[in-house]
């Protein structure tokens, strides 16, 4: 079940979302619980109904439902009456927790880890796009792989412990929702993410100033630092107006092409 849970979204569709992957993941447990083929068929059809949650947190639901099916096989089908309700309630709760932990915090943190590892290795190509510099392929790969490692270790741990925790308290509609102090974890991740964001922002402006320092006049330096600040402000304003980051990127591209390609203004570089 654990290995199969990595494919829970393989058959994702708009009609019933993760149902195919859920039934596929639960199948080994169902085969063990129901040696009778008719009962196995009924169980599989039961789990081909609509299901959707955060993929890493699905393990909690899988463990719980496996336990419920096990009890139903032992005590009679009356036990199954509460199964759809419990499944739906847990799917919604864990989706909310998982989205905030994985998509909202850990995923952006992998980028931060990547940037920090690259900076620690002396590679600043991520900030200065036109700079000619050398970097070993190992260093270029170490950045993203560090982020992936942090993320994957945590997600595999959650998948593994989720199965066990869900199975341990199977049958309850709030099963394993207290398996960890989720609000505290979310707060900690937010704080860590913000600290890294701040460090990267300071590092970036420090590098920009450092690369220009001594080689250009104070007004030029102010302009070169002011321009990125203006980009930050523009993004913030357009975001508040409901525009995506691609709109801002497109706007910057259009203005730049107009100014430097069509009107042929003097090309300008942020760093020397």
């Amino acid at each position: 079940m654990f290995l199969r849970s990595f494919f829970i979204q393989a058959g994702w569709n708009y009609e019933r979302f993760q149902n195919l992957g859920f039934a596929f993941s639960l199948q080994p447990a169902l085969e063990k619980i129901y040696p009778d083929r008719e009962k196995l068929k009924a169980a599989l059809l039961r789990h081909l109904q609509i299901f959707n949650t955060q993929p890493y947190m699905a393990s909690f639901v899988l463990g719980n439902i496996a336990r419920m099916e096990e009890r139903a096989a032992a005590a009679g089908e009356g036990e199954l009456k509460s199964l759809p309700g419990v499944k739906q309630a847990l799917a919604s709760s864990f989706a909310s927790i998982g989205d905030r932990i994985f998509w909202g915090r850990l995923k952006p943190m992998t980028v931060q880890v990547c940037l920090l590892v690259w900076s620690a290795c002396g590679f600043y190509g991520w900030l200065f796009t036109g700079m000619n510099e050398e970097a070993a392929f190992g260093v270029l790969l170490a950045g993203p792989l560090s982020g992936i490692a942090v993320y994957s270790i945590f997600s595999i741990y959650i998948r593994w412990t989720g199965l066990a925790a869900g199975y341990a308290c199977g049958g309850s509609a709030n099963c394993a929702l207290d398996a960890a102090n989720w609000p505290r974890l979310i707060r900690l991740l937010s704080a860590a993410g913000f600290a890294m964001s701040l460090a990267i922002a300071l590092l970036s402006f420090g590098l920009l100033a450092g690369f220009n320092c001594g080689a250009c006049r104070a007004p030029d330096l102010l302009l070169k630092i002011g321009l990125p600040v203006a980009v930050l402000a523009l993004h913030r304003v357009l975001r508040a107006l409901g525009r995506s980051v691609f709109f801002t990127a497109g706007l910057l591209l259009a203005v730049s092409v107009l100014a430097f390609s069509l009107l042929k203004l003097e090309p300008f570089k942020l760093y020397l």
Binding site: F6, F7, A10, G11, N13, Y14, R16, L20, G21, F24, Q27, L40, K41, L44, L48, N52, Y56, D99, W103, R105, K107, P108, T110, V111, C114, L115, G125, L127, F128, T129, G130, E133, E134, A135, L141, G143, P144, G147, I148, S152, S190, G193, M196, S197, I200, L227, V231, H235, R236, V245, A249, L252, S256, V257, A259, F260, S261, L262, F268, L270
Partner: protein, 203 residues
Amino acid sequence: MITLLKTFISAGLAGLLGLDAVQAGQFLFSRPAFVGPVLGWLNGCPLEGARLGILLELLYIDFIPVGGVVPPNGTAAAAVGVLAYSAGGLAPSLSFFIGMAAGVAYAPLESRLRASRSPLNNLVEAQVSAGNFELRRWLARAMLLENAAMGAYVLCAAGLAALLGLAPGLPRLYPGTDFAYSLMPWLGLSGLYFRFRTQVYKK
């Protein structure tokens, strides 16, 4: 010939890595930050691949795949960006913007692929009702289709980028695209900074 072969291999690899985004594993091997340097290395430009990858990542990280939302596809963006540079011969700055657009344009295709899987439910139910409990092949079929779609898309988009490279007067655009490209790290950092700032300071 070698370039063409590398382009085909890169498209296939992008299709394979793209599966990690939704269908299998979700270890983040499909993210542009990883796809960029890997395809860059394969095509002889690891540094530019890494740079294109991380800058695309900084913009694409803004989108969260919550619920049934299909976000712009970072794998397609990075693969097309790297191939536009390495095989198409375009400037890195223009390759970046082409990759960015290619990732956005892939989302409707992905949405159609997801919709095309809905009829599978009736087929799978009919199969299980008939006593055949083999679910694996349906999932394998869905993944194969997704892989092929991504590979073909990357190949087509890279081909179009290469054709664009033949357009006369294209280098005249480069001062503008280069400048806009130099601002992209700051745009990405802005998204990253304000995402966590909002989380920390919200009541």
